[in-house]
């Protein structure tokens, strides 16, 4: 066929350019709202007298489905900065947060997290980072912070391999013996078993069907849960992994229904289908079966997605329920006054992570005679903190960078809200 290739050529060339420009935008666009000078999204707080600015980086998923976890955690960090400036914890300096989003297209994204860490590192005013929220993001960030020598304190990542054992050493490739990654929450080698024990002993469930979202966190917590459930005397009927970006779980759940479980455990985050699985369980004929999850589903997005089926649902959180701690009372009041938003699973952890970092900065600055400390000095102060009085209770970091204050709280969903059930404390190992 004869084709007229004269006139439309300029138009097509222009459109081509437009299409590529758009492709470029969507690749990095939704990820972060940072600017090169790092002031976007920053919230200076308090009334401390000016002076040089010290920045606390915060890398959290604050858009999309993960926002229902990320935003309350971020608010915890912001409150910490406000309080620290009020109390003048680092004399002569004003603290600021620099917050970057690691969610791309509504889901936390390891490479976006890595980019954010690099952008923090290139800003000399950033002396440490709070974050990330998700274990697979941490996996991408730890090697970077390890080679860059900057402190990364996570409020919520729970995969044990991030800090312990040979897999943690693989992450610390540049300086294997140097700890730059710390966390203020407990880990899945405790969280999983606590959930399994609760299912077996308190809810008297015996036959479990495990599903996970095939991420670092989801797989790890499902393995830990399943292993403990078996050693308690229960049966694990099957362990399936779902693929990302899926919406239809009917086939998987119909198969699960065939195995007749009395509990379905989902290891993973809401953004990957936690709430949809609960909803589709009832459509697949196992709506009356209990649903167990871990901290990845204990959020408001789960309640939205599951709707009326958010019942007979239990989830663990690898941190203390702040409202049971007298020391956190002021924090909870201030959080309410300041933001008028619900407290999330890891709001107090976000506050604590920022506070312990600020404490280390303060100590390092004091040791320097009031000068701006280096990142290395902040790191060494973090490692040598003996007992930090936090709103989650007193703690220090062990040789791996984990908190010595290990508490798992257990929650139940009642349609439109999460209700606190109980919590267990573990001795530091």
């Amino acid at each position: 066929m004869l084709r007229n290739i004269g006139a439309p050529r300029t138009a097509s060339a222009a459109l081509l350019v437009l299409a590529f420009a758009l492709a470029g935008c969507s690749g990095s666009g939704s990820g972060s709202n940072a600017t090169s000078n790092g002031t976007a999204g920053a919230s200076a707080g308090g009334n401390a007298a000016g002076g040089t600015v010290i920045k606390i980086g915060a890398d959290l998923p604050i858009s999309g489905a993960d926002a229902s976890d990320g935003v309350p955690t971020k608010l915890g960090v912001e409150l910490a900065i406000i309080d620290a400036n009020k109390q003048n914890l680092v004399p002569g300096f004003t603290l600021q947060t620099d917050i970057l989003d690691d969610a791309v297209n509504g889901v936390h994204n390891p490479s976006q997290g890595a980019k954010n860490v690099q952008s923090f590192a290139s800003d000399d005013a950033v002396l440490g980072i709070v974050g990330p929220f998700n274990s697979n993001v941490a996996k991408a960030e730890i090697p970077l912070t390890n080679s860059l020598g900057i402190a990364l304190i996570s409020p919520a990542t729970t995969n044990p391999d991030l800090t312990k054992g040979p897999k943690a050493l693989e992450l610390r490739t540049t300086n294997p013996q140097t700890i730059t990654f710390f966390r203020v929450c407990a880990t899945d080698d405790i969280q999983g078993p606590v959930g399994a024990d609760y299912a077996y002993n308190d809810r008297h469930l015996r036959k479990a069907y495990l599903i996970d979202d095939n991420e670092t966190y989801g797989r790890g917590v499902a393995d830990a849960w399943g292993a403990q459930f078996i050693s308690d005397g229960g049966t694990v009927l099957s362990h399936d992994h779902i693929t990302k970006g899926q919406q239809d779980f009917h086939a998987l759940l119909t198969r699960a229904a065939g195995a007749a479980p009395d509990v379905v455990f989902y290891g993973g985050v809401t953004a990957n289908g936690g709430g949809l699985i609960r909803k589709q369980m009832s459509e697949s004929g196992i709506g009356n079966v209990a649903y167990f999850g871990a901290d990845g589903v204990r959020n408001d997005q789960f309640l939205t997605d599951a709707g009326a089926t958010a019942d007979n649902v239990y989830a663990t959180v690898a941190a203390v329920n702040a409202s049971t701690i007298p020391a956190a009372k002021q924090f909870l009041t201030d959080y309410q006054t300041q933001f008028n938003q619900p407290v999330g699973s890891y709001s107090a952890a976000g506050y604590t992570a920022a506070m312990v970092l600020i404490k280390a900065i303060g100590l390092a600055s004091k040791a320097d005679g009031g000068k701006m400390p280096t990142r290395a000095e902040v790191l060494s102060q973090l490692r040598s903190i003996k007992s930090f009085q936090s709103i989650m209770g007193p703690f220090a970091f062990d040789a791996n960078g984990d908190t010595t204050n290990k508490i798992i709280s257990i929650w139940g969903a009642q349609k439109d809200k999460w209700v606190f059930l109980t919590q267990r404390k573990f001795a530091a190992k």
Partner: protein, 310 residues
């Protein structure tokens, strides 16, 4: 890892899941195949028109005080009205996309409209992200849900609705394409655009109608997917569009019956693989079958309906 489960007891149940999923894929696949049939363009924006259909339905439903209505007949009529409205609006958007983005490029080298289609897809995705945000949006479950039990097999009104609505749309489309004047014009344009024009067919309006119908079907699919899953997400169209496009190719792109068949085949393969092996293998199975089919039947299961060259 790779274990075969005994899925025989649930075979029929899984088949129902597969047919419901396949019905959705088939509805979307029709738009791909019709557009390809008539202007040989792979309209990558089509999957996003499907998502747009669910977003539009959601917005229309938001205007109706559903909680105050309890009469099931009224609710059913509302659902019907929303389907029709969503289909109309998506159809109009499809026509606009053709008019603004593709028409000027109709005679340009093939790469230009293809890249444009990807551009339109990204534009739609970003608009939807700005519109409803980038997390799952829940879809009101306003229709009363009844369960049916036949033997050991149970299914609810929702899956029944997906299958019925998609079948009705396909029957209407078939009637339209093969028994109306405009349908005849479409087939003529698909066969030979220049000859059709010489015969007095308005090619531009025929192509616009093709886009209208294809996009309207995607709008219908958008509504029923919202009802079926209870949520929608601005990027849903990417995954669903990819599967539906695969379905169109599997059935023989350009072939309407082929797209329907392909949709159901893909839906059933995906569900059966999830049900009998593992979720992780479902996409491997879908694309392995696509490749195998194309190796042995390069023009798809039912063959392409290409212009007959003499």
């Amino acid at each position: 890892m790779f274990e075969i489960h005994n899925c025989a007891p649930q075979f029929i149940q899984q088949l129902i899941n597969g047919v419901a999923l396949g019905g959705l894929y088939a509805l979307i696949a029709l738009g791909y195949t019709m557009v390809y049939g008539i202007i040989e363009l792979i309209n990558f924006a089509h999957g996003d028109v499907y998502t747009l259909g669910s977003f539009i339905s959601l917005s229309i439903l938001g205007l109706i005080p559903l909680a105050t209505i309890s009469n099931p007949t009224v609710l059913g009529l509302i659902a019907l009205a929303v389907i029709i409205l969503a289909a109309l609006l998506c159809g109009i958007i499809g026509v606009l996309i053709e008019r603004l983005a593709y028409r000027r490029l109709r005679n340009a080298p093939r790469l230009a409209p293809l890249i444009t289609a990807i551009g339109v897809s990204l534009i739609l995705e970003n608009i939807m992200q700005i519109w409803k945000g980038n997390s799952e949006v829940s879809f009101p479950q306003f229709l009363p849900d009844h369960w049916h039990q036949i033997g050991g097999v149970r299914f609810d009104d929702r899956s029944l609705m997906v299958v019925v609505v998609s079948l009705v749309c396909m029957i209407l489309l078939n009637f339209f394409v093969f028994h109306t004047k405009l349908g005849k014009a479409m087939r003529a344009t698909a066969q030979d655009r220049d000859a059709a024009q010489l015969m007095g067919i308005n090619v531009n309006s025929t192509i616009a109608w093709t886009f209208f119908i294809g996009s309207a079907l995607a709008g219908v699919a958008g509504f029923i997917s919202g009802m079926y899953y209870g949520t929608t997400f601005f990027l849903n169209g990417y995954q669903a569009g990819l599967k539906a496009f695969t379905a169109a190719v599997l059935g023989g792109i350009g072939n309407i019956t082929g797209a329907m068949l392909g949709g159901f085949v893909i839906g059933i393969i995906e569900t059966m693989t999830s049900g009998c092996i593992s979720d992780q293998w479902s996409e491997v199975a879908v694309f392995a079958i696509l490749i195998l089919t194309l190796v042995f039947r390069p023009s798809g299961l039912l063959g392409q309906q290409l212009p007959e060259k003499v």
